[in-house]
């Protein structure tokens, strides 16, 4: 019994158990050492104490070593003391051992007694246990008996409880028709009736083979059918608002009405409402005008208002409808998947159509910001709808917005064109206005500046308006169309480029069209003005406009190829060239006409000796001077072929002295035609061929040269068609000299003037019956006097 203690009180570091005995003196402990060793030494002890054979208490005690050690170390007295001490210890140990033995023995005895006593007790207890078992058996048998007796009653009780519950249910079932009737009565709570019916329905259906149940079921069904009938009637009621409609349909669905049919009714009813809304919108629109009818009056409300009402009424209702449709018919067999979409698509298509018609009414330019806002609102509402109904025509809506924007841009283009035509009209008027004497009208440069500035200003204004379509706060501006195609296709190409092209075309039209087919010809000053305008466009304006456009409507990378500036510039330049050429031709033709008439109407045979330059020549010089002034207002001077300072004198001397004597010598007779032919041919060999109606350069000298060439060539051809007398020839001589005197300074190369006039004189001599030229000094005199 002490073993646990002995184990616990080992000398090693093992923890002390809580008993007090462990802390007793070493003497008490010593005998436990072997016991401890028996039970296995603690590892700690084994390692801690080095074997000391001299330790009398150690496990490795060796008496021999001990003795040897004592003997060798200690003096005798000590040895004796030691011996005595050992003897004392031995005695003490012996007595201890005896005590312990005795104690153990006592304990054995008492234990044996106890065991014996226990044996007796157990025997007694066994008998009692048997008793108990018998009793228990009795108890269980009697309990079984009792419960067997009670079982029947219990069952009946339970049965009765079941019957009662059933009866309660039955009662509620029996009450169903009454309640249903109550709730389903018109104006009552059909929803409760439905709930009630829903609960009862399954049971009724299950027990319908029982006559009484069937009666109930039939009755309730009749009631519900009645209710359904009423609900349906209500469904057809036009005044139902969407919420009621939804409720109504929901109830009908619960009544297990065929969803297909309901879906149909629901949609048709909702459709009727939406149609009504559309019709209300349509009522605002004037009836589609038959083609050719007079302009319809402007719509009563503005576009923003229209779109507002359209989106709040129609689109809102459609959203509501879509939502309730989803909740009602989602997952039901009858409602085909595409049904709502098709329905909505049809309606939105009509709505779009109406909106389109309304947009078409926006004839004037009106307020673009209003239009943009209206379109923006439309687009936003449409997006809301599209989240519900992805198939309701997203593309169509976006296309509608894009079309409206495009339409507006086109309209701006037309407005620009009209504006330009208006400006041109103003210019024409200013040109045609009779000038009060002494007061100069606005000069061509002023007119040009006004025209260019107002057109450019208008274009800028239009760009600013159009930019509203791509403003950041506008929802549809983020559509890919507005980011890419609109900027490039509509604005840059469709508006700016188209306008510039149109401008060039229109300008060209003044040159190409009228002279041909009898339309009123444009005044020459206008041609000149337009030529300058086109030239300015080519030089600066086009690149400026394009840069401006590209800044305001940045083109996307990889977008469609755009018309490059140089192409437009080339067009403008071609138009300018065409206009200027036409100007030259028109002015030349005017002067030429004058000369032709003067030559054709005169009888050159019977004319008198010339005393004066003919008036028409003075008029020609005046006209050409006027043209010179006109052109000088708009075009630079240009380069003249270098001449000596005294060019007129020199030319004059060439004209008179070196060639004239040979030609006009009195000895000249038709009998020697070879001379003149040879002379003129030799002269022509050295002169360049002159193209009469040839393109001119953009400067004053070139323009004037062109006009003079045309005029003089006409004079030449006309003179060749006439037959002249002596004085006729002399008159031509005088006229030619006069022209030479006044026209050389306008031409780029005075040799052209001189050459042509020489030919006129030579041809006149050819056509003369009596070619006696006038003395040159006389010619000079007459000219100077004139």
């Amino acid at each position: 019994m002490a073993e646990p203690e002995a184990v616990g009180s080992g000398t090693g570091g093992s923890p002390e158990p809580g008993s007090g005995t462990g802390t007793s003196t070493g003497g008490w402990r010593r005998p436990h050492g072997p016991l401890q060793r028996y039970y296995g030494p603690s590892t700690a002890e084994a390692t801690e104490a080095a074997p000391d054979p001299a330790d009398i208490n150690g496990p490795h005690f060796d008496p021999e070593v001990f003795l040897t050690k004592i003997r060798s170390e200690c003096p005798l007295a000590q040895l004796l003391a030691r011996e005595a001490e050992l003897g004392r210890e031995i005695r003490a140990l012996d007595s201890d051992m005896q005590t312990l033995l005795y104690e153990n023995y006592n304990k054995f005895i008492s234990a044996t007694d106890t065991i014996r006593k226990m044996k007796v007790d157990f025997r007694h207890m066994e008998a009692e246990m048997d008793d108990l078992a018998a009793n228990m058996a009795a108890i269980s048998s009697s309990s079984a008996r009792v419960s067997a007796a009670l079982q029947d009653r219990h069952r009946r009780g339970a049965q009765l409880a079941g019957v009662q519950a059933l009866l309660r249910k039955l009662q509620s079932l029996v009450e169903v028709p009454g309640r249903l009737r109550l709730w389903a009565a018109p104006g009552a709570e059909p929803a409760r009736a439905l709930r009630c019916h829903a609960r009862a329905r399954a049971v009724l259906r299950h027990y319908r083979h029982l006559p009484s149940f069937r009666a109930i079921e039939d009755e309730s069904r009749a009631i519900m059918a009645d209710l359904a009938q009423r609900l349906r009637a209500r469904l057809r009621d036009e005044t139902l608002d969407p919420k009621e409609l939804t409720e109504c349909v929901e109830m009908l669905l619960q009544l297990e009405e065929p969803p297909e049919e309901l879906c149909e009714e629901f949609l048709s009813h909702a459709g009727a409402r939406l149609e009504a809304e559309l019709a209300a919108l349509e009522a605002e629109l004037p009836p589609p005008a038959p083609p050719g009818a007079a302009a319809t009056p402007p719509p009563a409300s503005d576009i923003l208002d229209f779109v507002d009402r359209g989106s709040s009424a129609f689109v809102g209702s459609l959203c509501l409808l879509a939502g309730s449709y989803r909740s009602l018919f989602e997952g039901r067999a009858g409602a085909g998947p595409g049904r709502l979409e098709a329905f909505a698509a049809a309606l939105t298509a009509r709505y779009f159509e109406l909106l389109e018609r309304r947009l078409a009414l926006e004839r004037g330019l009106g307020d673009t910001s209003l239009l943009v806002r209206a379109l923006d609102r439309f687009h936003r509402r449409l997006r809301a709808l599209l989240e519900l109904l992805p198939a309701a025509g997203a593309e169509a809506g976006a296309a509608l917005v894009a079309r409206a924007a495009r339409e507006r841009v086109d309209r701006y283009l037309r407005a620009l064109q009209t504006f330009f035509m208006g400006c041109l009209g103003d210019v024409r008027q200013a040109l045609a206005a009779p000038r009060p004497p002494g007061k100069e009208g606005p000069g061509l440069p002023d007119l040009l500046a006004t025209l260019a500035a107002s057109v450019l200003g208008q274009l800028k204004a239009v760009l600013a308006y159009v930019q509203l379509f791509t403003a950041k706060d506008v929802a549809f501006a983020s559509l890919p169309y507005f980011k890419g195609e609109f900027c490039v296709e509509a604005v840059r190409e469709g508006l700016v480029v188209a306008f510039v092209r149109w401008l060039c075309r229109t300008a060209r039209g003044f040159a190409d069209g009228p002279a041909e087919r009898g339309a009123p010809a444009a005044p020459p000053a206008l041609l000149l003005l337009l030529a300058r305008l086109c030239l300015d466009y080519e030089a600066t304006t086009i690149s400026y406009i394009l840069t401006l456009t590209d800044e305001q409507f940045p083109p996307q990378d990889g977008a469609r190829a755009v018309t490059p500036g140089p192409v437009l510039c080339a067009e403008a330049r071609a138009a300018a060239q065409r206009l200027l050429d036409h100007y030259v031709q028109a002015q030349g033709a005017a002067v030429a006409q004058m000369l032709r008439k003067s030559v054709e109407t005169r009888d050159w045979l019977s004319t008198v000796e010339p005393r004066n330059v003919r008036a028409v020549m003075k008029r020609v010089v005046e006209d050409i001077t006027a043209i010179d002034v006109q052109v000088g207002q708009l075009f630079e001077e240009g380069v003249r072929r270098a001449q000596s300072s005294d060019s007129s004198r020199r030319a004059f001397s060439v004209y008179s002295s070196s060639r004239a004597p040979g030609r006009y010598a009195p000895s000249y007779t038709p009998s020697a035609p070879m001379d003149t032919h040879l002379l003129s041919n030799i002269q022509k060999l050295f002169s360049e061929r002159i193209d009469i109606f040839s393109p001119v350069e953009f400067n004053k000298v070139s323009v004037l040269t062109g006009i003079i060439k045309i005029s003089l060539k006409t004079l030449l051809e006309c003179v060749r068609l006439r037959t002249l007398g002596r004085f006729g020839l002399q008159q031509v001589q005088v006229d030619g000299h006069y022209l030479q005197l006044y026209l050389w300074r306008f031409a780029a190369d005075e040799r052209v003037v001189q050459g042509l006039l020489d030919e006129v004189a030579a041809s006149a001599a050819h056509r003369c019956l009596d070619p006696v030229p006038m003395e040159h000094s006389v010619v000079e005199l007459i000219c100077e006097r004139g």
Partner: protein, 300 residues
């Protein structure tokens, strides 16, 4: 005094030797110049200056039309052309002083049509009724100088004038010209269809140039692709071959600048369709040939 210019017309006969073909040596013909034989005068004292005289094309040489101021005079030559009898006439009435400048007798429709030009207007006349049948107002921007009928296409008419243009008209639709050429830089005085290959157009102008144009697109000869494109398009070399074969476009074939002064007359040879002559103010007569390459192109 008697200083008055009057343009008259007369019928002459060419010397027989020239008519039958000039087989004589050039020396002979130069040594003894032949004279024309005057047959009769077309009496125009009542009608004004003669502007133009036209023989009836394809006829037996019995009918002549002359234009005098604003009158169209149809003459019958009788007694072997010794006498010209005015058979019918028509006068152009209108504002101002109208004067015919030029005219042309159509070889089509049994020679019942003529075209005349006065100022900027071209008119067509029926010689049977002497009534106007069509009128091209403002055919040219300025005076119309000359006309010519396409010898192979009965409704086609070419005109030229002081606006430096040559225009081709379909007389059934006179609102717009079928084609316009603007190659000259001064008045065009003459326009002539080649007698047999009507795509060849000759024009003379006072810019001293003669221009030969090839108006394939409005000629009577087949024009355009006659070969199926698909047949040849698949192979490269065949494609190139096709390109060579491609018919010529309307184009100027040649510009003749031999003249130093205004050219007032151009005419095709009536014997050789590839030969033409032009005459300029300085008295130079130039005879040219259609370029050989073009000739072969047309013939082959």
């Amino acid at each position: 005094s008697d200083s008055k210019v009057m343009t008259c017309a007369a019928v002459w006969r060419m010397p027989k030797e020239l008519e039958s073909g000039s087989h004589e040596s050039p020396d002979d013909s130069s040594s003894n110049t032949q004279t024309l034989e005057l047959l009769c005068h077309l009496d125009n004292t009542a009608h004004g200056n003669m502007a133009c005289v036209m023989w009836e094309p394809m006829g037996d040489g019995k009918k002549v039309i002359s234009l005098a101021d604003n009158n169209i005079l149809l003459w019958d030559l009788q007694e072997s052309s010794a006498k010209a009898v005015l058979s019918s006439s028509a006068a152009l009435e209108g504002k101002g002083q109208l004067k015919f400048t030029s005219g042309r007798w159509s070889p089509h429709h049994n020679c019942t049509q003529i075209a005349t030009a006065n100022d900027t207007t071209v008119r067509g006349w029926d010689t049977r009724s002497m009534r106007q049948i069509y009128c091209i107002e403002n055919a040219h921007g300025q005076l119309v100088r000359d006309l010519d009928f396409n010898p192979n296409k009965q409704y086609y008419l070419a005109s030229c004038g002081d606006d430096c243009k040559v225009k081709f008209w379909d007389t059934r639709n006179v609102t717009e010209p079928v084609k316009t050429l603007e190659e000259h830089s001064h008045w065009v005085w003459n326009v002539r269809y080649n007698h047999s290959h009507d795509q060849l157009i000759l024009t003379g102008s006072s810019d001293s140039r003669v221009i030969l144009s090839n108006m394939v697109s409005i000629s009577s000869e087949p024009f355009g692709h006659m070969v199926d494109d698909d047949e040849l398009s698949d192979q490269e070399d065949q494609h190139q071959e096709e390109k060579i074969k491609e018919p010529l476009q309307d184009s100027v074939i040649a510009t003749y600048e031999e003249h130093e002064d205004s050219v007032y007359a151009v005419e095709w040879s009536s014997a050789d369709p590839w030969l033409f002559a032009s005459l300029s103010y300085d008295g130079r007569l130039v005879i040219n040939r259609v370029p050989r390459a073009l000739k072969y192109h047309i013939l082959l």
